[in-house]
Amino acid sequence: MGETVLKDSPIGARVPMIDSVDKVTGKGIYTDDMAPPGTLTGRILHSPHAHARILSIDTSVAERLPGVKAVVTGRETPVKYGILPIGHDETIFATDKVRYVGDNVAGVAAESPEIAEEALRLIRVEYEVLPAWFDPEKSMLAESNLIHEDKPHNIEKDYHHHFGDVVKGFEAADYIREDRFFCPEVTHAALEPHSTLAEYYPEADAITVWSSTQVPYYLKLNLASTLQMPEEKVRVIKPLVGGGFGGKSEVIPLELAAAVLARKALLPVKITYSREEVFYAHRGRPGQIVELRTGITREGRLTAVEARIIQDGGAYCSYGVVTILYSGQLLNAMYEIPNVKFDGYRVLTNKPACGAMRGHGTVNTRFAFEQQLNRMASVLGIDPVEIRRRNLLKAPCITVNGLRVLSYGFPECLDKVEERSGWREKHGKLPYGKGIGIAGSHYVSGAANAIIRSGAPHTTVNLSIDRDGVVTIFTGASEIGQGSDTLQVQVVAAELGVDLDRVKIVAADTARTPIDLGSYSSRVTFMAGNAAIAAARDAKGKVLAAAAVKMATNPENLAIEGNQVMCLDDRRIAMPFEDAVRLAAGDGQTLEATGSYRPPDAATGGKFKGGGVGPSPAYSYCAQTAEVTVDPETGQVTVDRLIAAHDCGKAINPICVEGQVIGSVWMGLGQAVQEEMMWRDGRLMNPGLLEYRSASTLESPPIEAIIVESNDPEGPFGAKEAGEGSLAATIPAVTQAIYDAVGVWIDTLPITPEKILKAIAEKKKSETQVIKTEN
């Protein structure tokens, strides 16, 4: 790990993604592209009420409709599930209550979409409507009409952390700021709507589920528990996935609904969400209130931070406990902050559950913190780049809350964007209406502690090498468009010294591939990458040992390069890789090898309540500049240019790294300037891609990615995450650029023209008042 890369190694090469031929020709198969003979259409009946008791459900008329093959309600699906072991609060279909508009009441499988939809209309449900909670600050005061009876005050979970001594920290400060920030809900809106196909085999009492999931293994576990089937009878296959961003990183109701319907109908059942259903299924970034208090010295050194954070979690736990912890824990590991206090509340409301979304838990807190730091820099007259340099971590280090940071490329990221953007010539010097801003952000390279705690590896990769020297990787890691498959092929080819086209991959099929926890928390490069290297080393050890006997030398004197096993002391003595494989495997056999990865204990964090969330074997870092034009007449903000320097440790595939960084920045910009889930009485006002205002080419500015390589000592070839860490910095970089342009700070997202105009008007008013007072 972290070693020098050979000259012709595929590490660092701009290798096109191995599945890109399938994607550009339309041959690649996504879940909804499959339809075995006899496949039924599944549809879900959703609740029209935000909070209601179910008094009765009558499915008899629907069941008699010709063409209907199965109808299922909550009576048949009583087992509770959830992605977190401490958050099992959902059932496939509601058993007693519905808790949000869109909650799942019943499922139907029929011979056509038209029949299925007609059947939904024929299901009679009698509800007793209950008072509903929509505002988290009101919901957390609730005494009655609780959303879940076992959650007093509708608080899913609260955490209270104190590291160091903030009282002393604030005493040492010369300047203390307090601000309140609000970030409304945003959602992933991956272009592929969720889709699941399930087929039950009655003679074996087994089921196979193809699904658009980022987490096949967790889906398998939840299918087994909710269907009350043994795990070995459940097979999950992940076809191509059309984007996830966290929206497919837990079990989504349609996945279980399709399975239970298929078992009852004894025919394959496919459910594909409509776009509106995707919006209601949600599990996106929660609305968040951040009350932030920060102390700093005259010289610009941070002395203390205190955050009170309230997250509007929606009606079920989902990833909520983890999200609220990330929002506090990752106040740290970015800058040196000696004293940190965090009070976090994950609150239930009668809206769809929020879950994990790109930058999970960290984004809204990072926006608040970076914005406040920029405001303090402005008051203290310190350059915003400089104030960050004065508060750098002294890595390697362990933060006050127990996060171990080994590689830290943030200083270089700052240097790079400062130079590329022309910061010194621009900041504070541009004409009114033009501005430049800067901010930083970071993210984990996989969670050091698995959702389900155990001593097991987080990922295992197996290799099978055939007599012709073709290497097949068997991995549970999930390609979702980020390059998971390509990355593993590259590291195995590099480690084994064979050409890329000799390495094939079989991925994400629980019947054929070993366990990997999934594509979330940016864990694949680090964890599956390290497991793939370990597997390749296992294979290489066997190949070289066999070759050494034949070549009458020591394995230590052998290397594999360019498909040849060769002696290091005399490279003319060589044998083809496949010959060595045959020697190692024995006649007619394939050579099997395996490797796995589990984060080291030193990276697993502090031993306090909630200390398990936030620790990671490595953190990525990003510094980012934004340049904007603000029209003071209309309030319109045009982002002219974004530059992100991202420390990914080592860019194993620069095409993928740049794509991930640019995509993250773009998604951060969406949250900054236009995206918002608009709720009214529990109903979503904008459940469409145009209404949600997902940016088209015309609203998307030039974005430049600069790769910074800090070579993490434990990363695969030095690599860390690239897919999430750049998102958060975009928002505060843009807001600071707006301040630089027109002198106003925006604390509530998204930054609409109305908010800009209002802020400019208030600024003018207060300046006029000052002049009047002076007169």
Partner: protein, 163 residues
Amino acid sequence: MQINGQRRALEIEPNRLLLDVLRQDLGLTGTKCGCDDSSCGACTVLVNGQPQMSCIMLAVSYQDAEITTIEGVAPNDGDEAELDPLQKGFMVEGGAQCGFCTPGMILTAKHLLAVNPDPSEQEIADALSGNLCRCTGYMQIYASVRKAVELMRERRPVEVAPR
């Protein structure tokens, strides 16, 4: 119907969408459904060379039209060496991440390059404004289209127009 250069005889209900006929009746699943309501452009096909969204087109209305889907873009089925310059461009520049918007993007760009073989970045952006992508921020898609322009130039010797 005339699809990807082949005449196909089909019996279809008058209320069926072209997107569904392509995907369900003809197995041409490269055409994607991202939004159901003509917001995203993932279902774009070429109709007589013009990009159109098949999710809002009644199939029976296009019996005499020449329809091209992503499966009809490469001249030789499945041979990587024979891919269209746009397809190659999207591969080498990372224009396809999750790949779900890719067929629609390529078909829209195909029309752009047919009418404007050397588009500026702004012209590419304008042409692709009806095709949403959530992965790339569009930067690598622009690079992919420009790469295709480059590949087309290499393939076709530069002709100097007589004045």
